[in-house]
Structures are given as structure tokens and as C-alpha cells.
């Protein structure tokens, strides 16, 4: 088999205050896959995400991205390969204009001048936000900011896009638009979400993290229809949503 894009083995981590958040996580994601990372509040999903691009350093175990170990000397390359979109776009968009913000990542990778501008325009084009290039981020709607946040990461041409709760706080139309964008992208996606219909719609595969361990890994349909598993890990389908009656997209 080819080298997985994300290769997490026996990952354990305790926060400095002593709270152990991850207890030996194993996860492999291959090129072109779209995987949902599910789990109740406090399961350790965000903690896991922060290991994927080396913000947090594994207490035990290892993380490799396309074969490259996540280690101090590789950090810049790791951060180019793994694009993380955080939950609150106000945290992600910190520059005074959309253009500057999208340019921030590629500029850190050394791009300048016309090549940089091209990257910025391309990335904004992929999320349908080119017309907003000169606007300050705080004058955009929440959904628009979320899209720009995705663009800031796409501009680094990552091998894998990691999204922490991408559909939270979006109205139904923005939520669908974001789904269309994610589906149109030709990148590997790992998506942390509590929005189970969204996971079903977008991700053929789901991984369930609970109390710092992976408790299920399989097709999203199988995971969502396993009532015992769902109940054991505080996962609940929204009222009226039954994956059994909906054909897999």
C-alpha cells in the first residue's frame, strides 16, 4: 500500500496541567480520502488535530505526514502539508485585509510578487471569494469568513485539509455552499464534526474518538447505524435523520 498522508501511531498526550487527553490513538488516512472525526465533547478531537501539524508534541507515539515525521526540524514543511482550519474564523483571520490574510501562509513559505498574488487569487477563487479580496475580514459575514479561512489554508497547497467543526454556526445555505466547496476540492480531508448528517453527506469514512481512544473506524453509514456504539459514546442523530433510509451520497 502507498504511504498514508496521515499516519498516527500510539499517540498519547497529557496537557501540562496533567490532564491526559489522548491514550494511544491510531489513525491512517490515505490520499484522496475524506474522513470524518466524530466524538463527544472533550473526546480529544481538537487535541489530536493540534498534533497533526506539530502545534502539540506527542507525549508518546508518532505522527507522520506523507512519510515525514512531525518533529521540530520539519515543522515548516509539515505545516505546508497539513492545512488546519480552526473553528472560529476570527482566530484564523488576523490580518487587516483578506488579501494579506490569504497571502500570510504562502509568504511564510517564501513566495513573493506575482507568484504570491496568483496563489492568493487562486485560493480565493476556489472558495468563491475573489470579489472580497480587498475587504477587511471583520466586515464579512460569518459564512464568508469561514470560506476565507478555508482559502487561507488552501493557499499553502496542503496535502491534507483538516477542519475543526467546519459547519458550526453556519446557516443552512452557507453550510451547503461549504459542502460544495469541500467536495470540489481535490485534496484529502479530515473533518472534525458534531454534525452527523454533514459527515454522512461528505465523508465516506468515519472515525470515532472517545475519551482519548479510537473506538470505531469504518464506513460512515456503518458507524451511524450502529446503535450500541452511538449510544455508548454520546453520539445522537438529529431528529428525523435516519441514514438507513437515505442512500449513501
Amino acid at each position: 500500500m502507498t504511504t498514508p498522508v496521515l499516519d498516527v501511531r500510539g499517540l498519547a498526550y497529557a496537557y501540562p496541567d496533567g490532564h491526559q487527553a489522548l491514550f494511544g490513538v491510531d489513525l491512517h488516512v490515505h490520499r484522496g480520502e475524506r474522513v470524518a472525526l466524530l466524538g463527544p465533547n472533550g473526546a480529544g478531537k481538537t487535541t489530536l488535530v493540534l498534533h497533526l501539524n506539530g502545534i502539540l508534541t506527542a507525549g508518546a507515539g508518532s505522527v507522520h505526514v506523507s512519510g515525514l515525521p512531525v518533529a521540530r526540524e520539519n515543522l515548516l514543511e509539515i505545516r505546508r502539508r497539513v492545512g488546519v482550519v480552526f473553528q472560529d474564523p476570527d482566530d484564523q483571520l488576523f490580518m487587516p485585509s483578506v488579501r494579506d490574510d490569504v497571502a500570510f501562509g504562502p509568504a511564510n513559505l517564501g513566495l513573493r510578487g506575482a507568484a504570491l498574488e496568483q496563489r492568493v487569487v487562486d485560493a480565493l477563487d476556489r472558495v468563491g471569494m475573489v470579489d472580497f479580496i480587498d475587504r477587511p475580514p471583520h466586515h464579512l459575514s460569518f459564512g464568508q469568513r469561514r470560506r476565507v479561512a478555508v482559502a487561507t489554508v488552501l493557499a499553502m497547497e496542503p496535502e491534507v485539509l483538516v477542519l475543526d467543526e467546519p459547519s458550526s454556526n453556519l446557516d443552512p445555505a452557507s453550510r451547503r455552499e461549504l459542502a460544495d466547496i469541500l467536495r470540489s476540492l481535490d485534496v484529502t480531508v479530515l473533518m472534525v464534526t458534531h454534525d452527523l448528517p454533514y459527515a454522512y453527506e461528505l465523508c465516506p469514512r468515519s472515525v470515532v474518538l472517545s475519551d482519548g481512544v479510537v473506538v470505531a473506524d469504518g464506513s460512515t453509514r456503518d458507524v451511524l447505524t450502529d446503535d450500541a456504539l452511538m449510544a455508548a459514546h454520546r453520539l445522537e442523530l438529529p431528529f428525523g435523520f435516519d441514514p438507513r433510509t437515505i442512500p449513501a451520497p
Binding site: 505545516r79 492545512g83 482566530d91 483571520l93 490580518m95 501562509g105 480587498d134 477587511p136
Partner: protein, 253 residues
């Protein structure tokens, strides 16, 4: 770009003043203010000349005078202070209408008012003709310490986020029947301030993570080369040159 989305100070336009690189405008403003401040306040005519020069710049920029005048309210505290000076200062007295006031105080008040007004008006003109982002780039080109420019950039970006957070906290307080009417309300206001501090601090940490995730290594990348042409240097020099001539005359006479 429409006018609606700039900052409150900015007045959208395409005049030569708007198009001039921000660092030149900053230099021009700085030298103008220094010259105004250095001019002896007894030379009343010099301040009239300065005001006319400034009016010329405003006219070229196409920013309506009313737009600038409305924003001059920031100067009110100084005006009040200046108005008090003739009454509290000591020394020989002169009769002005129904009042007997200190002569030295009157002169000091005039100096403060004239120099202050010119400075405020000049700064407002800069603000009205320059996008905040360009202003930051201008400061950076003028070799202001990198960290300082970064801090100002973040302040600009997050001012509205923090104000909004404050507004939401106030609404949450008032929805639970709180009104700040007496000293007894202060503890509640204090804890609001504390909560705001913690929230802002935590947001700062999250932003830092987001920056690291995109390869931040302690320096914001410099991506803009807003180089100035010799013609623009010459244009930017007109105001300071005329002001310099005025100042020299005023000191010499």
C-alpha cells in the same frame, strides 16, 4: 471598493493625495507638524498661511470640509483646556469683552489652540485619505520596529471583535436586570472587565496557534513593495517645503 467598508476615518477617493504612498504622507505630515509647533506663536500670520496650505491639500484630496470638521470633535478637551488658561494664568491682565484675563494666558491659549487645531486637521486629512492597512505598511517602510507595527495591525483587526464581545457581555448583563446606576454596580463591571481580559487573552493564544499553523516564525512576511516614484517624492515635499519657508520667515521676522 465602496466607501462603506473602510474604517470610520477613511474617506474613499482617487485624488493624488489618496494615491500617494503612505510613508511619504506620514513623513510629510510629521515635518508639517514639527514646523507648526516650532513656529513662534506671536507670528499670527504664519498660522494663517499654514491653515491655507492645509486647506489646499484638503481641496486637492476632495474630502468634504464638513467630513473633517465633524471629526474634529476629538479636539474638544484641548479647546476646553485652552479656554481656561487665560483665566487661571498669572501676570499682566487685559480686558476682553466683559472679562479681565491674563495676557500671557491668552497668548498661551491661542498658541495651543492654533497648533493643536492644525495638527489635528493635518492628521485627520492623512486618516481620511489613507487606508489603515496602507498606513501600517507606511510605518513599516519608515523602519518603525516590526513588533510595534504588528501590534497596531492586530489592534486594528481585533478592535471590533473585542468591542463586539464587550457589547454582548453588556447585553447579557442587562438581560438579567442589571443597570449600572450606582457604586454598588462596580463589582459587576469589574468582573466584566476581568472576563473580557481573559477572553481576549485566550483568543490571543488561539490566534497564535493559527499563525503557527501557517508557518509563522516571528516575523510577518513583507509582501508589498509600494515604492515611491521621484515625482511622488517631489509632490509629497511641496507641503513641508512651503511650511518650512513660512517657519523660517516667522522665526526671522
Amino acid at each position: 471598493m465602496g466607501a462603506g467598508h473602510g474604517h470610520q476615518l477613511h474617506f474613499h477617493g482617487h485624488s493624488p493625495v489618496h494615491r500617494m504612498p503612505a510613508h511619504l504622507k506620514l513623513l510629510s505630515l510629521l515635518s508639517f507638524i514639527v514646523l507648526v509647533v516650532a513656529t513662534p506663536r506671536e507670528q499670527y500670520w504664519a498660522f494663517v498661511v499654514y491653515a491655507l496650505l492645509l486647506a489646499g491639500v484638503v481641496a486637492i484630496s476632495g474630502v468634504p470640509a464638513g467630513y473633517l470638521l465633524r471629526r474634529m470633535v476629538v479636539e474638544v478637551p484641548f479647546v476646553v483646556f485652552a479656554a481656561l488658561m487665560p483665566f487661571v494664568a498669572t501676570g499682566p491682565r487685559v480686558q476682553v469683552g466683559p472679562f479681565t484675563v491674563s495676557e500671557a494666558g491668552l497668548l498661551a491659549a491661542w498658541g495651543l489652540l492654533a497648533k493643536g487645531t492644525l495638527g489635528v486637521l493635518a492628521s485627520l486629512t492623512l486618516g481620511a485619505t489613507t487606508e489603515p492597512r496602507d498606513l501600517l505598511l507606511g510605518l513599516e517602510r519608515l523602519r518603525l520596529p516590526h513588533q510595534l507595527v504588528q501590534i497596531m495591525g492586530f489592534m486594528m483587526r481585533y478592535l471590533e471583535v473585542v468591542t463586539d464581545e464587550l457589547r454582548r457581555m453588556r447585553i447579557a448583563r442587562e438581560s438579567r436586570g442589571f443597570t449600572a446606576t450606582s457604586v454598588r454596580a462596580w463589582p459587576a463591571l469589574g468582573s466584566t472587565a476581568g472576563a473580557l481580559f481573559i477572553r481576549s487573552y485566550e483568543r490571543g493564544e488561539r490566534i497564535h496557534l493559527a499563525m503557527l499553523s501557517r508557518g509563522y516564525n516571528g516575523r510577518l512576511p513583507v509582501t508589498h513593495q509600494a515604492a515611491a516614484t521621484p515625482a511622488q517624492w517631489a509632490q509629497a515635499g511641496i507641503l513641508p517645503a512651503l511650511a518650512l519657508a513660512t517657519a523660517v520667515l516667522a522665526v526671522a521676522l
